[in-house]
Symmetry: C2
Subunit: 162 residues, 2 copies
Amino acid sequence: MTSGRGRDHGREPTTRETAEAWESLFRAQVTLLRRLQRDDVWGDLTLREYDVLFALSRAPGQTLRLRDLGEGSLLTQPSLSRLVERLEDDGLVARGPVAGDARGVAVTLTDAGARAQREIGRRHVRSIHRFVAPALDADELARLRELTDRLRAAQRDIPGPR
Amino acid sequence: MTSGRGRDHGREPTTRETAEAWESLFRAQVTLLRRLQRDDVWGDLTLREYDVLFALSRAPGQTLRLRDLGEGSLLTQPSLSRLVERLEDDGLVARGPVAGDARGVAVTLTDAGARAQREIGRRHVRSIHRFVAPALDADELARLRELTDRLRAAQRDIPGPR
DNA sequence: GCATGCTCCATGCATCTGCATGGATCGCGC
DNA sequence: GCGCGATCCATGCAGATGCATGGAGCATGC
């Protein structure tokens, strides 16, 4: 009897298989992330600060609510709140009101912030290429991307602990 | 002309392809890690503390030098040093000398530490299965594991920034 | 044998993070 | 229009983290 899952037709993985695949993914990410962080491409910013600037650079109007910034963030809400405060002090982002919701805070990339993001981003992608390209060819990378995309996308449909 | 890379015969990926694959891997790990951390399986420990106990549980004699613990760790050397200090205060590990090197510190799992690792580990792998199994079938997980293993293994051969 | 540079670990200190909480606003039922 | 729980963000505070540095032992050359 097959399980009722939609697009997924192969054999259901065992607990061990899921654990081993997750550990491999986890270790690969940790190893690579540490190398990327050590690479001298970050200027005065940390990876987490750059990540916020990057998210803003992709957003329409280079603006996001604090809430939405927190969605894919590595930080908790209070930490993100203060990180944005520091970025504002450095002139890289500006905070403003959200139309139609007086609780919200809209975070916008300033010109200086956009410049910083572009410069760091350019160096960062070269750094990525240096570490990733020797390991996997184009087809393998496409497959890796597809699998990790699906892994992430599936999380939307799985209920949380609460 | 083909590049001189050994086992890798496919097309060399572009900078864009490496960056997009890395971002997908990165986001998947962050998303999943946050869900795993929220899951109530950790008792009094943090993920990083558990990770140290886990590494020790796999080591011969359940013992590792501080230096080796740091290899795959998420922490810097000083932070790891203090984390181990806390674990020792809690009775989960013991510190001792290293035979033949008076500089070294050998960290050993205590019985209580081994118990804690097993209990948390059991809950943790169930948690992993819950989040991963709905997303990918057994073949896909095996493929994902192979790709991430190779990605990580390749880092040994790539020179660092210094 | 000894000087010199390197490795391993610990510690002072500033900063960052998370937890708990609070204040303001929103949405919804009535 | 009003009450009440939920959402959004900020802040006090304790603890964890990283950077810079220091001290002790090791390894190498001479």
